[in-house]
């Protein structure tokens, strides 16, 4: 009911300027049929119909500062219900991803605001809220963001969370030295009115030279009195078309204030990585990455990645990726290869994924996926999409799934 009230209120506010000014509207719709196999439903074939809708109403005022954005979907499972999964059938689920009023320059050069269901983010806390987000800019050398509202969480096809789940936070940022950003943030999450999380975040990035970028992020969990996340990295561009990156990341498992898990001792996770990417020509890019992962107690893992992006001829794009992993939790060796070719109004895509895995002290095997899809633009307003996929893995000898969609934009 609260969501409906907010939506009605927003629509009412949004409609006021219509009285004096012609707004612009853009609607994007996607009507879809999806089929798949759920191994929790005795591997039965399942099928859904879904309707996605995105609404952009812009230029509600003469200056184009006030806009309304909305995005949601309705989905219904149309296959026969499984006894073990009665909640999935015989019902229609709705999910409102966002619906908010965006008012830029509500106070000229000083205030932007968003009200309604919207995504908010900061180094301390982030999520989707039914509430308000304010960005107060140009307060001397600093800016301040403030946000708060009901914390919106999504579950299987629907929305979860109690009315009293909430999220609130603020950040103070300094864009003081050219190409340097420093931001301190504070955030809290409440679970049914009980304080669940409280974090302080620090975020910085600076580009002291055109070939060097240094950045970092710290998330301090005040509930457990620990640094929950620490990231420090440097990005170098020693020559044109070549980028080198080194990162150190550390995390400490954190839990809700009231969770019994937070009273256990845990190890930090540490990761050092180095990555490089290079454009050989405008049509070929190669990349590679190595990461050393440390789980504590002498358990480690090594991860190697290599990638190739190629556009050998006009309208053809090829992607290849390989990963090899050895160490704690298991071994993994896999690749994915896919390509897209555009012919007039159509785009044809296909790909293969393959993984050979050895889980530590449990399962081993391979997982393969073959897929193909086509996008056809009938005209500027209508387009159709179809994708089919075959899976071969330990759950299924042969499993087929896919979707077909009709998209409309006007």
């Amino acid at each position: 009911m609260r969501i409906i009230r907010v939506a009605v209120l927003l629509m009412a506010v949004a409609c006021v300027p219509f009285l004096s000014h012609a707004a612009e509207g853009k609607v994007t719709s996607s009507t879809q049929y999806l089929w798949y196999q759920d191994f929790l439903s005795n591997d039965k074939d399942q099928s859904d119909v879904a309707q996605y809708l995105r609404l952009n109403v812009t230029k509600l005022d003469k200056e184009g500062k006030i806009n309304v954005y909305g995005y949601g979907r309705v989905i219904k499972q149309i296959s026969t219900s499984d006894e073990g999964r009665p909640e999935l059938a015989d019902d229609t689920f709705g999910r409102l991803y966002y619906f908010y009023l965006d008012y830029r320059d509500a106070v000229k050069n000083h205030l932007d605001l968003r009200a309604g269901r919207t995504y908010v983010g900061s180094a301390a806390v982030s999520g989707t809220i039914d509430g308000i987000y304010l960005d107060v800019r140009n307060l001397g050398p600093v800016g301040v963001t403030l946000f708060g509202g009901r914390n919106v969480t999504f579950d299987n096809k629907s929305e979860t969370g109690a009315c009293k789940d909430s999220l609130a936070g603020m950040s103070v940022y300094f864009d003081t030295i050219k190409n340097t950003h420093v931001e301190v943030s504070f955030g809290r999450k409440y679970d049914d009115s009980d304080l669940a999380r409280e974090n302080v975040g620090l975020d910085f990035s600076t580009t002291p030279h055109e070939k060097v970028n240094i950045y970092g992020k710290v998330k301090y969990d005040t509930v457990s009195d620990k640094v929950g996340e620490l990231l420090f990295g440097a990005k170098l561009a020693p020559v044109k078309s070549f980028i080198l990156r080194g990162e150190y990341f550390q995390s400490h498992p954190t839990f809700d204030e009231f969770s019994f898990y937070r009273f256990f001792s845990v190890n930090d996770y540490k990761e050092i990585s180095i990555a490089a990417e290079y454009w050989l020509t405008g049509q070929y890019q190669v990349s590679g990455r190595y990461a050393r992962e440390d789980f504590g107690g002498s358990e480690t893992a090594d991860v190697y990645e290599a990638g190739l992006l190629a556009r050998p001829i006009k309208d053809l794009t090829l992607n290849a990726f390989y990963e090899k992993r050895n160490g704690y939790a298991g071994r993994l060796s896999g690749f994915r290869f896919n390509g897209e070719y555009r012919i007039s109004r159509a785009a044809i895509s296909a790909g293969i994924d393959y993984d050979d895995f050895r889980r530590e002290a449990s399962r081993e095997g391979t997982a393969k996926k073959y897929w193909a899809g086509i996008l056809y633009e009938l005209n500027k307003m209508f387009s159709a999409v179809a994708r089919v996929e075959e899976n071969i893995n330990f759950n299924f000898n042969r499993s087929y799934q896919g979707f077909a969609a009709l998209n409309i934009t006007y």
Binding site: T176, T207, A329
Partner: protein
């Protein structure tokens, strides 16, 4: 106590920041480049003093930029662009994205059969799972499998071994402790309740719920 430390952290950070604050620089509005291809960005950014992004590893890197208060993601992308990956939307289906066993769109990172490889991939930065998934996402599947006594679950065996009634095997205790310390967050998936861990003498008087 924790509040005092948090306050100290804020005050110290603010003091440092104020120390370097002198001039304000506005971010560049990128809305007019909304339809440009990422490779075109290098034409401006090469030598501009700000390195271009959206490179080969942008999937791993974008969080750092997106969480900034002054991020300019919205100049080119609508929130639906983010949510289609993070929350299973599919308004503009990317043909490289697959469907989960629930019929939800999955991000491209979930390659091949992600159910097969997720116990390994989840350990590569254990935080990543929780950026999109609630804890209940794991238990929805794992708990059902346990209830159905499905032997094919394939989890590393970790049922308690007792040498006598109420006395767990020291070898099991050692392994259990080591695994829990490394990956406690994953334990929540099947054991969300306090009673799951306090039904023997190892964890008496454990606080929380």
């Amino acid at each position: 106590m924790s509040n005092n430390r948090a306050l100290k952290t804020i005050l110290m950070s603010t003091a440092i920041l104020l120390g370097i604050a002198c001039l304000a620089f506005a971010r560049t509005d990128h809305r007019e480049y909304r339809d440009a291809k990422p490779e075109d960005c290098r034409e401006c950014h090469g030598g501009s003093g700000v390195a271009d992004n959206h490179g080969a590893f942008f999937m791993k890197e974008h969080r750092v930029m997106a969480e900034k208060a002054t991020s300019n993601c919205a100049d080119c992308h609508q929130q639906s662009f983010c949510l289609d990956c993070h929350k299973g939307g599919g308004l503009e289906p990317d043909l490289r994205k697959s469907l989960s066993r629930r019929g939800e769109y999955m991000p491209k990172t979930h390659r091949s059969d992600f159910i097969s490889i997720h116990p390994i991939k989840a350990t590569d930065n254990p935080r990543n799972c929780y950026r999109c998934h609630e804890t209940g996402f794991c238990s929805d599947c794992h708990t059902r499998q346990i209830q159905r006594n499905r032997s094919g679950m394939g989890i590393k065996p970790h049922r308690t071994i007792f040498v006598s009634p109420g006395v767990p095997d020291p070898g099991w205790v050692s392994d259990h402790r080591a695994d829990a310390r490394r990956n406690l967050q994953s334990c929540q998936g099947c054991h969300p309740q306090k009673s799951d861990c306090t039904n023997f003498a190892c964890h008496p008087n454990l606080r929380g719920r």
